[in-house]
Amino acid sequence: MIGFLITFIKGPLIWISFIVFGGGLIVQTFRLLKLTQKKETRRIVPDKAFKPPTELSKKERFLRYLMSQRVNPLALNICLVLVSFIFHVCLIMTPIFVLGHNVMLDTAFGISFFSLPEQVTDIMTKFVIAGAIIFLMRRLLLRRVRIISTVYDYLLLLIAVAPFVTGFMVFHHVLNYNTIILLHVLCGELLLMMIPFSKFFHMVFFFISRFMIISEHSLGNPKRSWHY
C-alpha cells in the first residue's frame, strides 16, 4: 500500500498536478477576463491654453515622470517592496532553473532549461525562506496585518514555502533523504495544484488587474475595465 502511494506520488500525481495547474490557470484566467470588457479611451482636443512644456531639465523630467506614473514616493514601503520582489522572483525562478529539476527533465525527454549553478539556486532558496520568515513575522507582530489575518493565511504561507524548505533539506541531505524527497515532491504537487484555485492565483490576477485594467494604480497602457 505504502509502496503504491510512493510510486503514485512520484509518478502519476506529478502529471496530474501539472495538468491541474495548467488547465486551472487557463480556466481561471478565462473566467477572470470574462469579468472585464474592452474600453475605448476617450480622446479630446487639447485646451487652447494648454502649452506643452519646452526644454525640460533632468529634474523636471523626473518629476514629470513621477507625476505621470502617479508614484507615491513617501508612502512607498521600499523595504517591503524589495523583500516581496526578491521573494517572488526567487519563488518562480528557483524551481525552473534548479539543476536537479533540469536533470530529471533531460533524462525523461532529452530537453531542459538552462540551469543556474547550484550555489546560486541554494542562495535563492535561502532568500525565499527568509522572505517567508519576514512575512510570517509581519503577520505575527504588526497589528495592522494581524487584524485581518486568518488561519488560512498562515496555512498558505506554509504551503508556499514548504517545497523550498524540503528542497533545501534535500540539497543539504538533512534527515532521511528518501523521506524528505518524497515530502518535497508532495509539497510541490500540492502547491502547483492549489495555485489556480486559491489566493495564489494572484500570480495571474496581478498582471491582469494591474496591466490590463484601467485604474488609478494601473501600470503600462491598459485598455480594459471591469464589468460586473
Binding site: 479630446i44 482636443v45 487639447p46
Partner: protein, 226 residues
C-alpha cells in the same frame, strides 16, 4: 463633485519661497476624488518641493497632512498644533477650503496649490468634464437636463442664437450647440412648449464648457501630439 487641477509647480514654489516651514494640507473630499489634492498628491507635492528647493536651504521643512474635509471646521482640529509651528500653509483643497483655512488661521499666509475649475462629472480616471457652474438659478427643468449656462458659449436662456452652425457652435466648431441638443431632446420627449416661453436672461460672461485633464494624463487623452 468639485473638480480641481494642480497648479504649475513653479507657481507654487514662488509662493512658498520666502518661508521656512511649510505645512501642506490635503483634503479627503472632492479634490481627492479628482486626483488633485488627496494624500497622495500631498506626498507628491512635498517630494517635488523638496527636490526643487534642493540643498540651498537645508533647514527648510515641508510637512504634509490630509484632513477629512477642509470646508468643515469639525475636521480642522488636528491642524491647530501643526499650524502653530508652520510659517505658511499650502492648501490643496478647493477655493472654499483655502478660504476657510485662511479665515481660521488669520495670522498665517495660506496659499492655494490647485486651481478649482468646476462642478463636474468623471469621464474616466483623470478626465473630468464641467457640468454645472453653480449659478444658483437652476433651469434644467425646462432645458431637457442640458445646462445652457455651462454648455452654451453665450450662456443664453432663450436659444439658439443666430450663430448656430447646424449642430455646431460659432465660437468653436468642435463644440456642439447646446440649444440644438436641448431642442432635439425636448422634441423627442414631446415637451417643446417648455422653451416657447421667453425667459429673463442672467448676466454671465461668455464661457465655454471646460474639460479638466489631470496632470500626467495629457498623453492619454489629448488627440494631438504634445
Amino acid at each position: 463633485m468639485i473638480k480641481a487641477k494642480s497648479k504649475p509647480i513653479k507657481e507654487i514654489f514662488n509662493y512658498i519661497e520666502p518661508y521656512q516651514d511649510v505645512l501642506i494640507v490635503g483634503c479627503g473630499g472632492c479634490v481627492s476624488v479628482c486626483l488633485a489634492g488627496g494624500q497622495k498628491e500631498v506626498n507628491i507635492l512635498q517630494t517635488e518641493l523638496e527636490l526643487l528647493r534642493g540643498k540651498r536651504k537645508p533647514a527648510d521643512q515641508f510637512r504634509g497632512y490630509t484632513v477629512e474635509r477642509q470646508c468643515n471646521e469639525q475636521y480642522l482640529g488636528a491642524l491647530d498644533d501643526m499650524v502653530e509651528t508652520a510659517d505658511c500653509i499650502l492648501s490643496m483643497a478647493c477655493g472654499a477650503g483655502v478660504q476657510f483655512l485662511a479665515k481660521k488661521y488669520p495670522d498665517k499666509p495660506v496659499f492655494p496649490a490647485v486651481n478649482t475649475v468646476a462642478i463636474g462629472v468623471d469621464l474616466d480616471i483623470g478626465l473630468y468634464e464641467e457640468q454645472c457652474r453653480a449659478c444658483g438659478e437652476c433651469v434644467l427643468a425646462y432645458t431637457a437636463g442640458i445646462c445652457p449656462v455651462t454648455r452654451c458659449a453665450k450662456g443664453l436662456f432663450n436659444g439658439p442664437c443666430g450663430g448656430t452652425n447646424g449642430e455646431k457652435c460659432e465660437v468653436n466648431p468642435d463644440l456642439n450647440c447646446a440649444w440644438h441638443e436641448i431642442y432635439t431632446r425636448l422634441a423627442a420627449q414631446n415637451r417643446l412648449d417648455n422653451i416657447l416661453e421667453i425667459r429673463p436672461p442672467m448676466q454671465w460672461q461668455n464661457q465655454i464648457k471646460r474639460t479638466i485633464v489631470q496632470k500626467g494624463y495629457e498623453q492619454r487623452y489629448y488627440q494631438e501630439e504634445i
